[in-house]
Structures are given as structure tokens and as C-alpha cells.
């Protein structure tokens, strides 16, 4: 078959010693830099892009791809081990960190690694066979459809939050409002900025993530008197067969979700991890465990995110339009090397395209192999006593924030969110939905306004367009199910909540055990 032949050619190109070396370097460097809190895949790739200028085109692209995927993996490592997520690892952070608290860090990290591998493999299969077809999918969605997709993503709040749905919704809306701070992209008006220069461009996601998750978690650990003793246990990296059997179905489901959603420009890839998590919560055998440390909660979203990252190349390679900042960088790399992405790119440069596809898979393999030594090193970092570890993590948070704009003032924003995150934690409000709202809010607004503009103010458009109508129906159905479920649970007496034990310097008469419902 044609595709297999092409793949073979691609592998031939990718498996040269030089290209393998570039791939390896890219993966390692990407992972190491992505580990640093605050440096997400995009920042990493921007930092390391100049490294690729002097390398021949195939090698440069392979290295870039390696850096990107390495950074994504490093990102999930810091999410799982330190509860410091970035945009692509918010959901893996939830169950991943719970697994860390249960002393199963190695298992969580391995799950993330192998799920990424599965997600990437499935996506490459999709990429190889369906690129021309899927390229057209991107254009079938108009603003109204995107609006509904974002709303559908919001519905996933109900499953992403650990508290009650109402709390989750509140946090989600707060996140959306926080995202409004800054300059309105459509009119140029400054909203809620108090004329501060730092806020002119809005609040940065990194500040919110580091503050609400990282700093809050550190303070919580300190309040509890650093009971998290240094990690002395055995590092069980390879999971038992039973665990492995649990990972597989979740990872496959996640890959499917991610592959499809990744094609949609702009929002698809971000929503993928939330949708996968929600999917797992509804369909997995172990769904009751999800949220308190189930492997499925890590496997599904990790696979989805990786798959979405791969398939987000499709619009670039089939039509020539980059759909997010990372594919734009790839496009830039193409252009600099004299390759014109677009409808004819695959025909005119088959070795480049198939070589890239093949090396993406090789990068996947590399990451999996890197898992074993790197994770051991990383886990041994946690043997350091917490008293030494936490100032270091705080330092990395500062550097991470600083590196966004090379501006020390941004750290003040992170500090502010550290305070906010601490208050939220003490009030038992989960910040994950806040991140969800923060990320999806601007896309929801942009598409909502545009849909309204095009429909001249009529809400009909949401019902008349087929994709939008389907999503709307799903949203309504999920809401009804959620409401009915909540009422039933309420009648049974108790919406389950989890909250942290009180800090020692607080006066309280109630012993800790009475807090947990």
C-alpha cells in the first residue's frame, strides 16, 4: 500500500544516525527544560529554536519535534510530582499528584509516559492515513460550532472538580472573568487592568498555575509540618500486569478523543484532555477512583493530549495554515528552509513529510526509553529533605515567571495568585476548574462574539448548524444528568467533599477527623 511504502521511506530517512541523534538531543533537552516549572512547551521551543538554525532542514525539524514532545513530557512530570501544571497537563495533575501522595509516583510517571506513547502512535496512524481528509474537517467548523465546543468543554467541569459541581462552576466562571483582564482583542479596550503595565497583556497562565497550584501546595505542606517525609521507598517503575491492563483501554480511548479534537484549530487540543477525563469518568470500570488517584485519570488525558498535539499538525500540512503557536514555529522552520507548507507540500516534499512522521514516532520511543533513567533521577531528587526542596521549587517558580517577559514585575502577579490559591485551598475550593475557565474563556468569548456578529444577534445559529446543534444537545443532556444526579445525592445527605487538615497555628475545637465527610 502506498502509505506503507511512504512510511518505509520515511523511516529510512529518519533512521539515519544523524537524525536519530538530533531526535535524542531534542527529546532530552526538551524534557529537561520542560521540567522547570513555568516553562511550558512553547516557551521551551522558543528558547531552543536558535539551536536548530545551523542544522540541515530534516534534522532541524526532527529536533524541534523532539523538543516539543520532550517539553510536554517534562511538563507532565512537574505536574505529577510537584502539582505544578502547565496548559497541557492540568488534568494529569489531578490524579497524578494524588498518586504521588499515595507514594505511587513511579507508577504515575510511567503511566504518563506509556500513555503518551500510545497516544502518539495512534495519532501517527491517523496522520499517515487521514491527513488529506482530516484537513478538511478543520474548515467545517464555524464560530458557532467552536462556541458550543468550548461550552462542552465547560461541562467537563462537573467531572474535573473534586468538590461539588456548584463550587466547580463558580471556580470556572471566576477563571473566565480572570481571563478577561487585559486588552480586549476585538476592540482594543483595556479591561480591568487598573492601568497597570503588567496587566496590559492580561494575566499569564503561568502565574495562575504556579500561584494557585505550586505555591498553595507548598504552603499547605508547610502548614502540615512537612509531614511528607523524603522519598525513601523503592522505585517501582514497571507496573504490574494488572495495572498495565488498566492503562490500555483508557489510553486508547484518550488517543481517539485527542486525535479527533486535535485537528480543530485553536481550541481542540486544549479541550482534549478535559473531554478525555470526563469520558474516563463516565465509562471506565474504575471510575469511582478517578479523582483520588486512579491510573485512568492520568492515562486517558496524557494520551489525549499527546494525540492532539500530533494531529494539530494536520491543518498545517494539508492546507498550510498553522493552527497554534507551536505549529506556527514548525511552519517557520519549514519556511526558513525553503519548504512551502500547503496543499502541495506532501507531494513536493514527500521525504520531508514522511520523515517527519516517522521521526515523531521515533521521538515517542525515545521518550519512553528516557522514562526509565530520567524518572529515577527525578525521583531521587525527592529524597532531598523538604526543607531544602521547597525554597528551590519557589526559586524555579520565580525563574519560570520571569522568563515569560524577562520582567521581574510578573512575579508579583504570581505572588498575588499564590495568595489567592492559598485562600482557595483553605476555603476548600478546587483551582482546576479555574484553570479550565481561564484557558477556555477567551476562546469562548471570541467565538461567541463572532457567532453573534455573523448571525446578527440571533441565537438560532446555535441550533441550525448541525455540529453546533449536536454539541448543544450533548451539553443539555449532560447538564440534566448532572442536576438529577446532584439532587439524588443531596437527598441521600451529603455532597462529598475533601478538604485539607487545618494548619497547626489555628484555633479549632473540632478534631481533624470530623472534617471529612
Amino acid at each position: 500500500m502506498d502509505v506503507l511504502q511512504n512510511l518505509a521511506m520515511g523511516f529510512e530517512h529518519a533512521l539515519t544516525l544523524q537524525n536519530l541523534m538530533y531526535c535524542a538531543i531534542g527529546c532530552v533537552v526538551g524534557t529537561l527544560v520542560g521540567l522547570l516549572p513555568g516553562l511550558g512547551p512553547l516557551a521551551t521551543i522558543s528558547l531552543l529554536l536558535p539551536l536548530t538554525y545551523s542544522i540541515p532542514v530534516n534534522g532541524a525539524l526532527i529536533m524541534l519535534a523532539g523538543i516539543y514532545y520532550g517539553a510536554q513530557y517534562g511538563d507532565s512530570v512537574s505536574a505529577i510530582t510537584m502539582k505544578i501544571p502547565h496548559a497541557s497537563s492540568i488534568v494529569t495533575c489531578i490524579d497524578g499528584y494524588q498518586l504521588t501522595l499515595k507514594r505511587q509516583t513511579g507508577l504515575a510517571l510511567f503511566t504518563a509516559g506509556i500513555s503518551s506513547f500510545i497516544g502518539g502512535t495512534v495519532a501517527i496512524v491517523v496522520l499517515a492515513w487521514l491527513t488529506p481528509l482530516l484537513g478538511r474537517v478543520a474548515f467545517m467548523l464555524g464560530p458557532a460550532d467552536y462556541c458550543m465546543l468550548m461550552l462542552f468543554g465547560f461541562m467537563c467541569v462537573s467531572v474535573v472538580t473534586t468538590g461539588s459541581v456548584l463550587n466547580g462552576l463558580a471556580m470556572c466562571f471566576v477563571g473566565v472573568l480572570l481571563a478577561q483582564v487585559g486588552t480586549d482583542v476585538q476592540s482594543g479596550v483595556q479591561r480591568f487592568t487598573f492601568n497597570l503595565d503588567t496587566l496590559y497583556d492580561g494575566i499569564n497562565l503561568v502565574s495562575v498555575a504556579l500561584g494557585c497550584f505550586g505555591i498553595a501546595e507548598i504552603t499547605k505542606n508547610l502548614d502540615e509540618g512537612e509531614e511528607r517525609s523524603p522519598f525513601n521507598g523503592e522505585i517501582h517503575l514497571i507496573p504490574s500486569w494488572a495495572n498495565f491492563k488498566r492503562i490500555m483501554p483508557s489510553a486508547l480511548r484518550g488517543s481517539l478523543v485527542g486525535s479527533i479534537l486535535g485537528v480543530l484549530p485553536g481550541g481542540g487540543a486544549t479541550v482534549a484532555q478535559f473531554v478525555s477525563y470526563a469520558f474516563e469518568k463516565k465509562t471506565s470500570k474504575y471510575r469511582r477512583e478517578i479523582g483520588s488517584g486512579a491510573i485512568e485519570g492520568v492515562a486517558g488525558p496524557a494520551a489525549a493530549d499527546e494525540a492532539a498535539a500530533r494531529t494539530s499538525f494536520i491543518p498545517l500540512m494539508s492546507i498550510g495554515i498553522p493552527e497554534n503557536a507551536v505549529t506556527a514555529l514548525m511552519m517557520a522552520a519549514f519556511i526558513i528552509k525553503g519548504v512551502q507548507p500547503g496543499p502541495n507540500m506532501i507531494e513536493k516534499n514527500p521525504d520531508l513529510f514522511w520523515g517527519l512522521v516517522a521521526s515523531m514516532w521515533i521521538g515517542n520511543c525515545f521518550l519512553l526509553l528516557l522514562n526509565v533513567p530520567l524518572v529515577r533521577i527525578w525521583l531521587s531528587v525527592f529524597k532531598i529533605p523538604y526543607g531544602v526542596l521547597f525554597p528551590s521549587i519557589l526559586f524555579f517558580c520565580c525563574i519560570g515567571t520571569f522568563s515569560i517577559n524577562n520582567n521581574l514585575n510578573d512575579i508579583f502577579v504570581t505572588v498575588a495568585f499564590g495568595f489567592v490559591g492559598y485562600i482557595l485551598m483553605r476555603l476548600s475550593l478546587d483551582p482546576s476548574p479555574l484553570m479550565l475557565g481561564f484557558i477556555l474563556g477567551p476562546m469562548l468569548e471570541e467565538n461567541f462574539r463572532r457567532a453573534m456578529l455573523l448571525s446578527r444577534g440571533s441565537f438560532e445559529v446555535f441550533v441550525t448548524r448541525p455540529i453546533s446543534a449536536t454539541l448543544l444537545a450533548l451539553v443539555v443532556a449532560l447538564t440534566l444528568v448532572g442536576v438529577v444526579g446532584a439532587l439524588r445525592a443531596g437527598r441521600r445527605g451529603g455532597l462529598a467533599e475533601r478538604h485539607p487538615p487545618p494548619p497547626p497555628d489555628c484555633e479549632t475545637n473540632t478534631p481533624p477527623s470530623a472534617m471529612v465527610i
Binding site: L47, L166, L177, S392, C398, G418, R449
Partner: protein
């Protein structure tokens, strides 16, 4: 104070502030949305949710609030100190300030350990600067 009530009130407060703030920008209508329309809509939804939370807190069992300000102040103070000292004398000084202040929030305090950590972090900062080209104003 009932924690559930406090948080519901906090959310309501946020909703009202953002909502009031959004009136300062032109609202427009649905077909020609101004910058204030969307924040207003979301604030309204948030207000509705917060009212439901207030109602729910009435028939839920009251939970007392515990917020210990000591350690969070130290952590945040350390970070602010990092920025201020870095602006004055450079990141090397900032790191020292950060480590010494935030370590106060830890269980035990040791000058020697703080110094060792500071030196290690300064070395890392150097590495980041030279290897990654991250421009950290060290001096």
C-alpha cells in the same frame, strides 16, 4: 464563621465587582458586542451560582474556617523579597533573600543549610543563563 458561607459570599463579591466593572465599558448589544457584554454575562451567571451556594450553606452543616497566615506570609514575603532585592542588587542577592526568608516557614532553621541551598541555586542560575540563554540579571 461558617466556611461555606464565607466562600459563597466571596464568590458573590467577585461577581458583583466584575459585573460593576464591566459597566464601565460599552456593552453594545448581542449583534455588536462591546467589551463589557461578555464579562457582564459571566458575572451574572457567577452571581446566580453564588446565590445558590449561599442558599445551600444554610442547610449544610457549618464548618469553621481555619486560615493560618503565618507561613503563607513568609512564603509570599520571600518571593516579594526576591523581586525587590533582585531589582536592587541582582538575582544573586535575590536568591539569598528568597532562601533565608522562606526557610523561616519551614520546620527547622539552619543558617548553614540556607547558605548551601543559596549557593546551589546560584550555580543553577548561572547554568540556566549560560546554557539556555535565559537572561537573568545576576549582578
Amino acid at each position: 464563621m461558617n466556611r461555606n458561607l464565607v466562600r459563597a459570599l466571596l464568590i458573590a463579591g467577585l461577581a458583583l465587582s466584575f459585573g460593576a466593572g464591566s459597566f464601565r465599558y460599552s456593552i453594545g448589544d448581542l449583534s455588536d458586542a462591546g467589551p463589557g457584554l461578555f464579562p457582564l454575562m459571566i458575572s451574572a451567571l457567577l452571581l446566580a451560582v453564588s446565590l445558590m451556594m449561599i442558599a445551600r450553606s444554610r442547610y449544610e452543616s457549618a464548618v469553621p474556617i481555619e486560615i493560618g497566615m503565618k507561613r503563607i506570609s513568609l512564603v509570599l514575603g520571600g518571593l516579594i523579597g526576591f523581586v525587590l532585592v533582585s531589582k536592587a542588587v541582582g538575582v544573586i542577592g535575590g536568591i539569598v533573600a528568597l532562601v533565608f526568608v522562606t526557610a523561616l516557614a519551614g520546620r527547622s532553621y539552619s543558617w548553614r543549610r540556607n547558605l548551601q541551598v543559596s549557593i546551589a541555586l546560584i550555580a543553577v542560575a548561572f547554568a540556566l543563563q549560560s546554557l539556555l540563554g535565559l537572561n537573568i540579571g545576576l549582578y
